[in-house]
Amino acid sequence: MKVRQWSRDLGLGMRFAWSGGREGWVRMLLTAVGVGLGVALLLLTTALPNALSVRHQRDEARLDYTYGPSRPKAANTLVISDVNTSYRGKDVRGRLVEPEGPRAPMAPGLDRYPAPGDMVVSPALKELLDSADGRLLRERLPYRVVGTIGEEGLIGSRELAYYAGAKDLAPRINGWQTARIAEFGRPQPAQSDTADPVLILLVLIVFVVLLMPVAVFIAAAVRFGGERRDRRLAALRLVGSDSRMTRRIAAGEAFAGSLLGLAFGTVFFLIGRQVAGSVEILGISVFPSYLDPTPALAALVAVAVPAAAVLVTLFALRGVVIEPLGVVRTARPARRRLWWRLLLPLGGLALLSPMLGQGRSNGSFNEYLVIGGVLLLLVGVTALLPWAVEAAVARLGAGSVSWQLAIRRLQLSSGSAARMVNGIAVAVAGAIALQMVFAGVESDYTKATGDDVTRAQMQVQLPRGLALRPAAEKFAETEGVRKAVALGSASLGDRSWKEDQSTSVTTSVTVGDCASLREVARLASCRDGDVFVARGGDFDQDAAKLAEPGRTLYLDATYGVDQGPEITWTVPKGLQRARAITSPNGSRTSGFLMTPSAVPPEVAKVLSGTVFVSVRDSVPDVHEYVRNTTAKVSPLADAQVWSATESSKKFTSIRTGLFVGAVCVLALIGASLLVSQLEQLRERRKLLSSLVAFGTRRRTLGLSVLWQTAVPIALGLLLALAVGLTLGAVLLKMTATAVSVDWASVLALTGAGAAVVVAVTLLSLPPLARLMRADGLRTE
């Protein structure tokens, strides 16, 4: 009986929603679009784990493991060389390939290997090379494009990648850049990365922080068009429906909207999925096929969203008395009480407190306590905000007319104003907390590289045996290069490198002209042909032991895993002394220094060269010019741009996720703000027209709209700041990290909130102008 009554009333409500005339349709459309956006975001979230795992699998499948044991040439081997580069800040995955037999393993996404001088490229790279933007990259990759890499060989639709055919790679095999392989993929199944508890904590919180505002948003969306609905409900009461029936009918309307919203959401998601294939956010792109929602989670969304719509409506109508002659909001709502609102965040803190100071060393965090605590704290924001808005707005004094109009409106309906900004407040509070954690933990995951960026900004690694001087000259001639310092190096030991090295004494030898050597050591005098021993750096004892004139030392000529020829060098008599200083790459090492004429030819063959390039940053694309020169010097040479620090890849991707999510959520909330703003304006159209009639400036009305949005959002952001900082501090304490506030990102996030206000105001101005036309006065 009860079920039948429920379904009958809900059905009635749904019919009202469908047959509500033009206004009813508009309202339902708004609800559906709002819910749809939320659903799309939820589906995206459920698809994300899948997308990331597919990406990971693809990445694994094409892995060319160059660190494996050496193997002989065979019918099923391939020599492959890693020649990654980057172009204008984007990574380009590059491989030189030389199949050695008919059964050479085929890279994923390829059906045959390009001949020497040809290459196959990813669609995005092809596009780039064909465009004017790719001019400099075209110079660097002097190969003929003969095909494209298939989707299964790429980890993103916008990934830049190529395979170029090459000759005579085998002598280059060195155990790290170039290798002979018999298969692609990880040789032994990777032991799953033992996940760092702190990273897991962060991932959990990112999800909670992103999904909370979506929930808040959906709750707001099913309440669109409330006032007009109230009138309809009153009419229902007049014809004899009782107050419970009326509520259920209202819930039915929301139910219909949310069902349509599910459909919209699916469509939005499918569109977004296609669009996702053509965009790249912060260096990450995906193929549409990656974005498949996990079925169980998608089903959960499909059930939870309409159920939530019904519940939210019933909850929202709780404080409302629907009378036959109109809707009465419980006339003067009881003053909002503070105590239970405070209980929520305090409860959250209580849940988190047992884990304070646990840190990463003490194993994992209790996931339920973490999620519960964070949720309570963030829900606390939504509970505290209405109280805060009410309390603050009641105290705001008078100002200009626009201010007065806005404040008085807020005083009358502070609840709906607070609802409007709840989403933003929650999102910002969460994001601030996370930013703090990121900033705090950053030092642990960021290594100082030691590179001295004042002396050189790029470093080019040359393959072994490449003549240094011509290479250095080529770099010096490159556009935008101020100075190029070329240094060769090799290792020396007191016994043959083919023997067991465990007890040997080794040191390094550095080769360069006098000017270049002065970058690594202080030399009293220097002429070509001199040999020095630099002292006073790291490993000083070893260098001192070996620096005996006449002693024969063994040069490390092993090519990674292969054995090279035996090369020896005798310490000359005229050994001069020098003092080691910090080199451009941040190390200060004791060892031998040789000027070019002093280097025996067989030694020159095993030297690996490094060119430290200092560039003029004012020259646009200077890094690209240097990379092009690098490619010209040798395809196997590797150029790197120095930065003072480098951060953990994994860490960066979480941070990236947060930024992407925060942008989506803010856009979503902006949309909902705009919708409710427009709706409110439409309902006041007659009033607006009469205000214009007696000469109110459009600017005044525009400003009042601005204040009306800005004041609650400012309060929301303030509260978000307080809760966010608290949550951040607690989380940092949990990870046993010193608490510090990353004000720059706090500012950036509050700035983003403010940008939403401005955008919403600006977007609602044209409709406001339209509504302010006197047509609104026409009553006939």
Binding site: V401, G695, E780
Partner: protein
């Protein structure tokens, strides 16, 4: 026809269409200082549109409107708004009081729009509310007062700037006879005492009887009954 000598506000040969609907089709109008002119006519005849054009709220498609010797058609929107703020007052049937503001704040609104300080504006507003016998409502919001009281507040607001023309569009439309009469008495008395002209759009004869003369609008054309007789 040219504007009659001494007229404060005059319109000639006004045309105005909303899409395919012709609202005004050659309407004429003139009013002298201190005069109360009723604009009558059936629903949809264009009388509200005539008022909107006269008040510079809506620009006519063609025709001329002169106020105190100045041509309204040549003014920018900002100039017309300024004119409405300082020289005109408005009373509508409903939906004109800002529901969030108290009554005295509503009355003071036009003054504040003209840049008058808040205290001063509200003091002046209270004086007018006394004249219209609604000063005891000053701290109430429009939702808490009766229709007749609200309309008196609206009249006070229309008169608070000392306008030279008051435009009233069905000011008693939502009121019963007694309240409507009282509002009309107060409105016309106040207007006469300040020598303000009143353009009164109404379809009710007993309301129109408070005017000095009437014009009839039919099918977008106006007819000045005083001249016709």
């Amino acid at each position: 026809m040219t504007a009659p000598p001494g007229s404060l506000l005059a319109a000639e040969n006004l045309h105005k269409s909303y899409g395919p609907t012709v609202a005004l089709d050659g309407a004429e109008f003139s009013i002298h200082p201190g005069e109360v002119v009723a604009v009558m006519g059936p629903s949809g005849s264009g009388k509200s549109t005539l008022l909107h054009c006269l008040a510079g709220i809506v620009p006519p498609d063609s025709g001329s409107i002169t106020y105190a010797g100045r041509e309204l058609a040549g003014m920018s929107d900002a100039e017309r708004s300024a004119l409405r703020r300082s020289e005109f007052g408005f009373v509508f049937q409903f939906g004109q009081l800002v529901p969030e503001l108290t009554c005295v704040e509503n009355v003071a609104l036009p003054l504040r729009l003209n840049g008058r300080p808040r205290k001063q504006a509200e003091r002046a507003a209270l004086t007018w509310m006394e004249r219209l016998e609604v000063d005891d409502l000053k701290d109430k919001r429009p939702g808490e007062v009766s229709g007749g009281q609200g309309q008196r507040v609206a009249v006070a607001r229309a008169l608070v700037t000392g306008p030279r023309v008051v435009f009233a569009d069905e000011p008693t439309g939502a009121l019963d006879s007694l309240n409507g009469e009282r509002v009309m008495e107060l409105l016309t008395d106040a207007a006469r005492s300040t020598n303000a002209a009143v353009v009164l759009v109404t379809h009710e004869a007993r309301v129109a009887a408070y005017s000095d003369r009437e014009i009839v609008v039919r099918d977008g054309r106006s007819r000045d009954m005083e001249r016709a007789i």
